[in-house]
């Protein structure tokens, strides 16, 4: 076991986990933040996306012990207008990819509040939706300030 210090959604945590534990594992199993999903567990799908200092990363392939910076998960974005925008645009089917989608989208609109469709497609390409809600996700991001 080895100590990890994490700042998650503004709160400080000190946890003991073995080296090799992923950030996704620590968030879900140690901190109970189960909004971050694990689907492929190998970097392909984006379900586990979190922000580190505002930049989207994949928590399933990130060693908890190497995290430097503040972690923001979907739980930290509860009040973000994108959440409503996803609901308005009906951009959710099974919902499994949605937390990761919102985390990526929130980073995008923070850097670029009015992205074009092409910019949305480039920035959101790492979030796979098996239900195929892509057009609605695009609509949600285009209308998030409405």
């Amino acid at each position: 076991m080895s100590e990890v210090r994490l700042t998650v959604n503004g709160g400080e945590h000190v946890i003991d986990v073995p080296v090799g534990a992923s950030l996704a594992h620590v968030l879900r199993e140690e901190l109970g933040l189960t909004g971050t999903k694990i689907a492929c567990n190998e970097g392909h799908c984006g379900a586990c996306t979190v922000q580190i200092d505002g930049v989207p990363r994949l928590s399933c392939i990130m060693l908890a012990h190497t995290v430097e910076g503040e972690v923001t998960t979907i739980e930290g974005l509860r009040e973000h207008p994108l959440v409503d925008a996803f609901v308005r645009a009906d951009a959710v089917q099974c919902g499994f990819c949605t937390p990761g989608q919102v985390v990526s989208a929130a980073a995008l609109v923070a850097a670029n509040p009015e992205p074009t469709r092409e910019e949305i497609r480039h920035a959101m390409a790492g979030n796979i939706c098996r239900c195929g809600t892509y057009p609605k996700i695009e609509e949600a991001i285009l209308s998030w300030q409405d």
């Binding site: 080296v19 930049v55 989207p56 994949l58 990130m62």
Partner: protein, 273 residues
């Protein structure tokens, strides 16, 4: 497993280097890489671009928007992997990524794992190589490496300076490795010559976020036009001219890559002309 964070290259003493971990972590989890000690090298490897020298710790996301680097490298980074992976993955780590051959990833005892047969040659190989595929038919997955080979990049490690082409070797009976990097050797910097024009073109099975089926980089460097390909051989593959594509040795289900490579090479050459 332990994690070390040495503060100088001199302190390095064994262990598996990890930078972004996008390759190391999945390989550890699958049991394809064994490590008692991981060494976080982020404090040792330079990051950022200065006068044509790029720190090997620079992320692909930083490079995809860097106006000071040749377009072939910028474009190879922009088209590689996904946004999250480009935010995490380093240039040095990208050059050292392992094959995506599914037999290798699933742990089949194939030649690259030290065994005596190439399961892909007799089995499923539609994503595999069309050059140098006699021993191992894997297709090198790095867009970035192909771009750097075409650009004539040189690498500086903690031990030597080498042309990027010397980083790679074809695996054979006596030595199954695909790189010449030694234990304890770290890639520190990538140096680029001045380039008049360059381009990277990539065919994928979907419009974005996919490994290269075939990637073609072309660059005009001095009086020379250099061409290198991703996804066609077990290592990044340099060809001297479009005619070299007549020397391919495709497998039954990789023949489709040949016309694809021909078309991309033709377009890439036209673009740097």
């Amino acid at each position: 497993m332990e994690l070390l964070r040495p503060s100088s290259v001199e302190e390095l003493d064994g262990g598996v280097p990890v930078h972004g971990g996008t390759e190391v972590v999945p390989l550890l989890r699958e049991g394809l890489l064994a490590a008692e000690t991981l060494v976080d090298v982020r404090g040792l490897v330079p990051r950022g671009t200065r006068d044509g020298v790029i720190g090997a710790g620079t992320t692909l996301a930083e490079l995809e928007v860097d106006p000071s680097i040749p377009s072939a490298l910028r474009e190879a980074c922009r088209l590689a992997a996904s946004p999250q992976l480009r935010n995490m993955g380093s240039l040095g780590g990208n050059l050292l990524q392992a094959t995506r051959c599914w037999y290798w990833r699933l742990g089949y005892p194939c030649r690259l794992h030290g065994g005596d047969r190439c399961h892909a040659r007799d089995g499923e190989h539609r994503e595999h190589a069309i050059f140098a595929n006699g021993f191992c038919a894997s297709a090198h997955p790095s867009d970035v490496a192909a771009a750097l080979v075409a650009l004539g990049a040189r690498l500086r490690t903690n031990r030597r300076e080498l042309a990027i082409e010397e980083l790679y070797r074809l695996p054979d009976e006596d030595d199954r490795r695909t790189t010449t990097l030694e234990d304890g050797e770290l890639i520190l910097e990538v140096e680029l010559p001045s380039v008049q024009a360059s381009v990277y073109l990539k065919a994928m099975d979907r419009r974005r976020w996919s490994f290269p089926q075939v990637g073609v980089a072309a660059a005009r460097v001095g009086s020379e036009t250099r061409i290198a390909l991703a996804g066609v051989a077990p290592i990044p593959w340099r060809i001297e001219s479009a005619e070299d594509l007549d020397k391919v040795t495709p497998l039954p289900r990789t023949e489709w890559k040949v016309p694809l490579a021909q078309a991309l090479v033709r377009r890439a050459l036209a673009a740097v002309d």
